[in-house]
């Protein structure tokens, strides 16, 4: 190695100006279209699902300035650069409840990897963007190498979205009793 990797710094509370300018109120920046508003184009085939959730700090308070990014394979198990569909989206959580809502298609299992969506979390107070994964209750999760490496059932459960009526629910806890499992990606 000849170069030192650049250090991370917090995204700060105003990350939306740079990443979701329409959400931040910058009228007509980039034609009024924020990148990552849709995970896939509407003609992508697969089982449509919706995921919603909230993000909390160690006191259980909503992290209202967070930005989340999602990256996944499509229903045939392909990532975008392998000829699959886009599979990337980004969300600013709402300013009151720190909630998000994502419409997507269920990703395929790839080898032993159970269907999952990769998530990246940034916010004020997060020095290094945090990686986690959304798995789905009811899918074939038994042999997934990440899930099987977690012994504590409470910890493991933090990675599994639970069906809640029409949608899945997946909350993120940065700290505390229900702290989400974060990955060394």
């Amino acid at each position: 190695m000849t170069r030192l990797q650049s250090a991370s710094q917090t995204a700060g509370p105003y990350v939306h100006i740079g990443c979701t300018p329409s959400f931040a109120g910058l009228e007509n920046m980039y034609g009024g279209h924020d990148l990552g508003a849709e995970m896939f184009s509407s003609d992508t085939s697969g089982l449509l699902i919706t995921i919603k959730g909230r993000i909390f700090d160690g006191d259980g308070k909503p992290v209202t300035d967070a930005m989340l990014e999602f990256w996944q394979a499509d229903a045939s198990g392909q990532y975008a650069s392998q000829g699959g569909s886009q599979g990337w989206a980004r969300r600013a959580v709402d300013a009151e409840l720190a909630g998000y809502y994502l419409q997507t298609i269920l990703p395929a299992a790839i080898g032993e990897d159970a269907p999952h969506i990769k998530v990246w979390v940034v916010a004020r107070g997060i020095n290094l963007g945090l990686h986690t994964r959304i798995y789905f209750d009811g899918q074939a999760n038994a042999n997934d190498p990440v899930l099987t490496s977690i012994n504590d059932p409470v910890r493991k459960a933090t990675l599994i979205a639970i069906q809640d009526g029409e949608s899945y629910n997946f909350d993120i806890h940065l700290q505390g009793e229900n702290e989400t499992v974060f990955l060394n990606v």
């Binding site: 105003y14 740079g18 392998q82 940034v122």
Partner: protein, 242 residues
Amino acid sequence: MIKEKPFNRLDMSLQPQALTPEYRSSRLRSPMHKLLSFTPGQGELLGPNFGHDVINPNDNDLIINYACPGEAAIGEQIMVHGYMLDENARPVSNSLLEFWQANAGGRYRHNKDGYLAPLDPNFGGCGRTITDGDGYYSLRTIRPGPYPWPNGGNDWRPAHIHFSCFGTGWAQRLITQMYFEGDPHIPLCPIVQTIANPTAIDRLTARLDMAHTVPMNFRAFRFDIILRGQGSTLFENKLEGN
């Protein structure tokens, strides 16, 4: 398919820890458990691609990309430029970079920013570009002002530009900040000082670049971004040892 090597791990001798109590917001927003290590797969090696077609011609010119036609943002006009490379000094080409910053007075165009400095009607504060085949990028902007922030004391951020970098693989995703050479707030700032390593801070500090400064027009600052590379030195050392 070519089997690619995984990305090198984060070098925690250069990166900030999650919990850095002097930066108060980190206290309740830092995981207490160790990050879970696992064997990365295709999904970590690959990442979203953004074609040059998502970029409009003035997206990287913050002086005019939000301004009324014929007008311009107020402040010191600068160019920031450099290369996005990986740890092996290979260019990270065709990769999206996004930037955002306060205006010349240190005020963000954001409803949560209540600092008394005025908004500039001609300054939005965001831009983006895609690196070229050599990993080169540039942007034109006004030099941002320092600003105060609530952290429990008399805390002021050094002038800075936030950078969001994608790289080519999901594991390379990075958000960081660029500082300006000689800013006396750099050693005082609890956010900068979340990085314990002075060399790592130095690498986030842009240098005045007189060679690219245009007389009677703008000053240039040079800022390179280094993303994680593929194929560890461990592997190379092993080869040498064999």
